[in-house]
């Protein structure tokens, strides 16, 4: 199950990521309330992963560049977008973190299921 990803290879769709993960951890037929709860929990974690990855991997010059390109810093999302855009390091880090998280969560589920 976990060896097959139904995620797009062309872009990251957060919904697809979470839906796929939720299915892999036995939430495919959960109640709506449970699904909602899980959805929120996972998206929280993903945001944290993404921001942390960027902050740890982005190069100083890239911060400069992002600041120049988006100097008024009106929205965090936009700024982060710029930052990620010019930082391959951050992109790798994010994707690695997301993949790792996916795998670990699925492993956890399987460990729980063994009992």
């Amino acid at each position: 199950m976990k060896n097959q990803t139904n995620l797009s290879v062309n872009y990251f769709d957060p919904d697809a990521y979470i839906d796929s993960l939720m299915e892999d951890i036995g939430f495919g037929d959960a109640t709506e309330a449970e699904k909602d709860q899980m959805y929120k929990g996972l998206s929280d974690q993903i945001t944290d992963l993404v921001l942390n990855s960027i902050s740890l991997y982005v190069e100083p010059e890239q911060i400069d560049e992002a600041l120049i390109r988006n100097a008024d810093l009106k929205e965090l999302g936009k700024f982060v977008e710029k930052l990620v855009e010019i930082s391959p390091e951050a992109q790798f880090a994010i994707i690695e973190a997301l993949d790792r998280f996916y795998q670990e969560t699925v492993d956890t589920y399987e460990e729980f299921s063994k009992m």
Binding site: S55, I63, L67, K78, V84, I94, T108, F112
Partner: protein
């Protein structure tokens, strides 16, 4: 009058020299001004006095008559007035003209004193950090609207933070002093060759400091653009074996880069580069370099959409310069190659063209410009919809579907915009680039395109090496010293752990914290998850308790240190990163084990697991925020006010309403102000320091800022950001990697 006795007493305390010179008008007028302020005179009267003083300062000869010591004293007095009467000055009318005028006067005095004062200061600093602290101006810790004051407190804190600092400071200041002493010799010599090389046709637009973080040194841009470049080894290294050259544009991680072109790129460009015969004699080599450097700059200016990205302190720009200088490339041909729209032409497949045409027909527009306008309008609508959808706490299925649809459309629009832009470029036959890195990649490709065995990945890593090389050059010398100044926790694993041991909240480790943490800093432990676990188990006290208190703190501190280290670009952060990874793994394992045996069903367990790891993340952010606030030496609320305290935002912001950008902006401003005010940094390096502090604020702000605004407003733009931005080749690579692991 109370104020008068007060000032006299202060003057008396300054010592003999001051008593002798205090009758000088440059001081006396300031005493008068202070009296006026403390008597509560009306704004007009004070303003008149301050204006008069300012005018005196500009009148010829006035400053030259005074001794440097007196000027320094006057400057200090202005500083004192600004501090002491800060509240009065803040109550001034809009714009605070008196304050502004005083600050200006102070700047004039500073300018007059110039480097000399700094050398004197540095001499004193060598006596150690303790002395430094005493020399620092005492600022009222009370909250003010102006970040400058908080910033100074912050600067003082830098010295408090690391007990080792007194020691560390010494060699550092030695370096600083050397650099300062060298200034008079270096500066005059540089402009001379530059003026020779500048032809009248030289473009006027120089990449000066634009925006908040752009940096320029006191040396003129084009001169240092040439001089900072090092003659590093030739980058031409053909990799051992490889398939034919991969598509040229695909792996360049920039937005204008269209995905996966087809066709052999080696045939795309015109003639191969013909190495030019060196036209100049050996003695004129330097001049040739300057000319080349000028040409490199011209090239960049023609090709780059955003001119402000050409900077003489940017490693990428320097790498371009170095590459051109080293490779004897025919610049005209290179230019032709880079402006060759054919390259672009090949990257746009017929499908894409048809798609754009279909969309254009649909939108009933005929020109690409109008199409772009229409797309941008649509993008706004889509973003608005997405925004309102993202505000829902629990999206229904319909909402999710709508969101998904909008998200997909957003990505589509972004791509279409990109294509339209490219097609527009093609039509107009002008080729421009969005970042220097893109150009650098292409230049490197151009130089190596005749090597049949060249792999794209090797080419990419070669480019990276070039940039790294330049970075190293940049970080030698003044920048290295500055970066040391700007990294508050020394970002090596050992010293971070040492600093950690001294944190009182970390006292669960008992008295032997230092020793215990030293054990952890051994490389063989850091790299091994089980050894890290053993280490935690071996600590005095309960394993569970350590997992919940010691480990989160350790992670937060280490990550802070990594960010600092990264930002200062000086020290290796690898071991710390590895340790964090292992600690995080253990943390999640601990959570998993604590849930495993609970008498609930699997779904409940998973829900609990996710909520627990989220809790751990929040804790991490809390600790990070706490440490950052501690660095600002302020309480939580005060720190927030300062962080958000630029201008109108002050006071109006509550914890709930604070925007992360107030945080970024405010924190950066506070840090910039620190640097601006600091006497410890020679004027010519201040821009560099400002950049370093700004980055630090952003890197740390990302984590803390994210937690402040909460998930719903952040998740969507973020997700979309990686969605659009992480270019297809990256995802393909990921797929390939995953596939390789499985099969």
């Amino acid at each position: 009058m109370a104020a008068q006795t007060n000032t006299k007493k202060q003057i008396g305390e300054e010592g003999v020299v001051i008593e002798e010179t205090s009758s000088h008008p440059i001081i006396q007028e300031l005493v008068k001004i202070e009296d006026l302020i403390s008597q509560g005179s009306d704004e007009e009267t004070i303003m008149k006095a301050v204006k008069g003083y300012s005018e005196n300062l500009t009148s010829p000869g006035f400053l030259n008559e005074a001794e440097k010591g007196v000027v320094a004293l006057a400057r200090k007095r202005i500083e004192e007035i600004l501090t002491k009467h800060e509240k009065v000055l803040l109550l001034e009318a809009k714009g605070r003209p008196i304050r502004g005028e005083l600050v200006k006067a102070k700047a004039k005095l500073t300018e007059h004193i110039g480097h000399k004062e700094e050398i004197i200061d540095l001499g004193e600093y060598q006596e150690g950090a303790k002395k430094l602290k005493e020399l620092d101006y005492k600022f009222d810790h009370a909250m003010t609207e102006d970040n400058v004051f908080a910033a100074d407190i912050f600067w003082q804190d830098i010295y408090k933070l690391d007990p080792k600092h007194a020691e560390d400071l010494k060699p550092l200041l030695d370096d600083l002093k050397k650099e300062v002493v060298q200034v008079p010799e270096v500066t005059p010599s540089t402009p001379a060759p530059e003026s020779v090389s500048l032809a009248p046709s030289a473009p006027e637009a120089q990449p000066g400091p634009k925006g908040t973080t752009t940096v320029s040194t006191t040396v003129s841009p084009s001169a240092s653009f040439a001089t900072t470049t090092s003659p590093s080894g030739m980058p031409v290294v053909a990799p051992p074996s490889a398939p034919p050259i991969a598509p040229v544009v695909a792996p360049v991680p920039t937005p204008t880069t269209p995905p996966a072109p087809s066709g052999a790129p080696s045939t795309q460009s015109g003639a191969p580069p013909r190495p030019r015969e060196p036209e100049t004699a050996e003695g004129e080599e330097a001049e040739t370099n300057l000319k080349l450097s000028k040409k490199a700059r011209e090239l960049l200016e023609t090709l780059l959409e955003k001119k402000e990205l050409i900077r003489d302190d940017d490693a990428v720009c320097l790498a371009i310069n170095a590459l051109i200088q080293q490779s004897d490339v025919d610049l005209d041909q290179l230019k032709q190659f880079l402006q060759n729209t054919e390259l672009l032409n090949k990257t746009i497949s017929p499908e894409v063209r048809n798609r754009v045409k279909a969309e254009m027909d649909l939108a009933k527009v005929t020109t690409y410009e109008n199409f772009k306008k229409a797309l941008n309008d649509e993008l706004k609508t889509v973003e608005y919809t997405l925004d309102s959808l993202s505000k829902q706490q629990r999206p229904s299925d319909a909402d999710k579907a709508e969101r998904k649809q909008n998200l997909t459309r957003r990505i589509e629009i972004e791509r279409l915009l990109e294509h339209a832009d490219n097609l527009n470029k093609l039509e107009k036959r002008t080729m421009t680039y969005e970042s220097p890195r893109e150009i650098l990649n292409l230049i490197n490709f151009y130089l190596h395109k005749d090597e049949p065995e060249l792999k794209m990945e090797d080419l990419m890593s070669q480019t990276e090496e070039l940039v790294e090389e330049q970075k190293e050059n940049l970080y030698k010398g003044p920048r290295a010293v500055l970066n040391k100044f700007c990294s508050f926790l020394r970002p090596t694993l050992k010293s971070t752990l040492k600093a950690l041991a001294e944190d009182k909240k970390f006292s669960k480790l008992g008295e032997n914290a230092g020793e215990e943490l030293a054990k952890l800093s051994q490389l063989k432990v850091v790299n091994d998850q089980f050894k890290v676990k053993e280490w935690i188990e071996g600590l005095p006290g309960d394993y569970k308790e350590h997992m919940e208190t010691t480990v989160p703190r350790l992670i937060a501190y280490l990550e802070l240190a990594i960010r600092d280290g990264k930002v200062s670009s000086l020290l290796q952060t690898g071991p710390a990163r590895k340790l964090v990874e292992n600690l995080r793994k253990l943390q999640r394992e601990h959570i998993r084990l604590s849930i495993k045996d609970q008498p609930i069903d699997n779904q409940q367990k998973m829900l609990l697991y996710v909520s627990e790891i989220n809790k751990a993340s929040r804790k991490n952010t809390d600790i990070t925020g706490e440490v950052l606030r501690k660095r600002l030496h302020l309480g939580r609320n005060e720190a927030l006010k300062i962080l958000g305290g630029t201008g109108a935002l002050a006071g109006a912001l509550t914890m709930a309403a604070i925007s992360p950008f107030a945080l970024f902006g405010g924190l950066s401003t506070a840090l910039y102000a620190t640097v601006r005010r600091s006497k410890k940094i020679p004027e010519k390096w201040k821009p560099l320091a400002r950049a370093a502090t700004g980055r630090l604020a952003v890197a740390n702000g990302l984590v803390v800022g994210g937690s402040l605004i909460g998930i719903t407003s952040l998740y969507l733009p973020l997700a979309a950001a990686i969605g659009v931005v992480a270019v297809p080749w990256l995802w393909k690579r990921r797929k390939a990697k995953k596939g390789a692991k499985k099969e």
